[in-house]
């Protein structure tokens, strides 16, 4: 099945959220202006913010169902998460960070799996480093390795490129796009950079003021922008769609 189905309604502060979408193995992009509720929607999928009503299911398993009073706790949802500033544990080395979420009976086995996760992202050499000694791009790879090391069933990333220097953003974006395609796992990415949408080439869900205003491929959005924000978003494309 391999699908993430989301339909959540709730409030956070003054904003009311009403967001629904589903995604299979391809990355899905949540796009919208600042404060539109993208991160709140992400938190509701993670289980860090309680919706008032709705459903969240992953691979056919219900994670949240307001009517049936199902609410799987955050730590048992098995959704990998990479926050905007990566949030690597500063008191652990890179290996310790990645091993943190690996369920294994022995320490040796846990470290072995963590090293494998680092190797998959070409950062095995960083294992003994502290997070403070890493560049932004390295931090992102380590955070991604950490999120994936515990074999999650879905992956959420909050503006994964926003914390990086513009000079390295392009390379990191290409790397990320390749890896996410190879993962073939439901992935939701929050972004407000159209270049991310071009590189990742997935479905786009546009959220404004807590509600979905448009969805489709980048080319669809470009062909028929429904709001001023979408028009501004697609105008920044580097390659006009055919």
């Amino acid at each position: 099945m391999n699908a993430l189905k989301v339909d959540v309604r709730g409030t956070t502060g003054a904003l009311s959220i009403d967001v629904s979408f589903s995604t299979g193995a391809a990355p899905l992009l949540l796009v919208g202006p600042n404060g539109s509720g993208k991160t709140s929607a992400l938190m509701m999928i993670l289980g860090a913010l309680a919706p008032d009503r709705g459903r969240v299911s992953l691979d056919g398993t219900t994670l949240y169902d307001g009517d049936a009073h199902v609410d799987v706790p955050l730590e048992r949802r098995r959704i990998g998460f990479v926050p905007q500033r990566y949030a690597l544990f500063p008191h652990l080395d890179v290996l310790g960070n990645v091993a943190y979420g690996v369920p294994a009976p022995s320490r040796a086995e846990r470290d072995h799996l963590a090293r494998a996760a680092l190797a998959e992202l070409d950062v095995a050499a960083l294992a003994a480093r502290r997070p403070a000694q890493l560049s932004g791009g390295e931090m992102q790879r380590v955070a991604l390795a950490r999120a994936l090391a515990g074999r999650p069933r879905a992956l959420l990333m909050d503006e994964p490129l926003a914390a990086l220097d513009v000079s390295v953003r392009r390379d990191v974006r290409r790397f990320l796009a390749d890896r996410l395609r190879a993962l073939a796992m439901p992935t939701v990415l929050v972004t407000h950079d159209v270049a991310d949408a071009e590189a990742l080439d997935g479905d786009i869900v546009v959220i404004e003021a807590g509600a979905v205003v448009q969805r489709g491929r980048l080319a669809d959005l470009a062909a028929q922008p429904q709001t001023e924000f979408v028009r501004q978003f697609v105008v920044a494309r580097t390659r006009p769609s055919p």
């Binding site: 993670l46 955050l74 048992r76 098995r78 926050p83 500033r85 949030a87 544990f89 515990g150």
Partner: protein, 274 residues
């Protein structure tokens, strides 16, 4: 305009006056306060000598008091850290009004006169206090026992630790906690593997301050635990007792406590700088 020309003369004088008076006022006033703090400590140190110091410490009251003080302050600190760390964690994470009120209440002993603390402890745990009759059923009489010393010290010293711990837990990056939980960590695991290790320097600083406060506890201990040698007579009470008969002992113990307090202060400041 002629008016402006005559105006400049008083202004020059005023500026000259300020140039002299301001440094004099600032220097004089701050110097007075510095002297007020430094003179008594100088008096304590310079009217003694190594020989007198050792003779003072040879008094039979001293050894049991040192032993008792070490035991009770360590017990108090243990109690404060054991119960205060989870309390601080809850206060730092709850944002409801009830918890904000409790946060203020737990700070009360900082501003409370020690005598009031003594009366309050008696009225809570004394024979006729709130819990006294219930404790008596189990054959427990707290007042004038070593346990009472620990309670008095914990009462006055706990806020210092709790305040430091609350501040440390509030500063914790919320994303670190969130990520740990998405990685499958339970709340106890988040607490012990993320929150405590990252707050460690602040917790140690708070514990040091708290221990120093417990070490100096006098008023509440005297009223609630009494002044019994070997049982409730801690170092501050020994100084008070010795003062009536043997100034040398009181002075020697005071010098020891000044040295310990100064060392703790340096440790806290060094810890805070790191």
């Amino acid at each position: 305009m002629p008016g402006q020309v005559t105006d400049t003369q008083p202004r020059v004088w005023r500026e000259r006056l300020i140039a002299i008076a301001w440094p004099a006022a600032v220097g004089g006033l701050s110097g007075a306060l510095l002297l007020l703090v430094l003179l008594p400590i100088a008096g304590l140190l310079f009217t003694s000598s190594p020989g007198r110091l050792l003779r003072g410490l040879a008094d039979p009251l001293v050894a049991p008091a040192i032993r008792l003080t070490i035991v009770t302050t360590i017990a108090s600190l243990g109690l404060i850290v054991l119960c205060g760390t989870p309390l601080a964690w809850v206060i730092a994470r709850r944002r409801t009004r009830l918890w904000r009120v409790l946060e203020t209440v737990i700070q009360l002993p900082v501003v409370l006169p020690p005598a009031v603390a003594g009366v309050a402890l008696l009225l809570a745990f004394g024979r006729r206090g709130l819990l006294g009759p219930s404790l008596a059923v189990f054959g427990v009489g707290l007042p004038f026992s070593t346990a009472a010393v620990v309670l008095a010290q914990s009462f006055v010293a706990a806020p210092f630790y709790v305040q430091a711990a609350v501040a440390a837990f509030r500063q914790l990056d919320a994303d670190l906690v969130l990520v740990a939980r998405t990685l499958g960590a339970s709340w106890p695991r988040v607490f012990f593997t993320v929150a405590v290790p990252l707050s460690w320097p602040a917790l140690a600083g708070g514990a040091t301050l708290s221990w120093a406060r417990a070490l100096g506890e006098f008023g509440a201990t005297l009223m609630f635990a009494g002044n019994l040698t070997g049982r409730t007579q801690t170092l501050p009470l020994t100084i008070y007792t010795a003062l009536e008969s043997d100034l040398q002992t009181a002075q020697s113990l005071s010098i020891v406590l000044v040295a310990v307090a100064f060392a703790l202060l340096v440790a806290i400041r060094a810890g805070a700088r790191r």
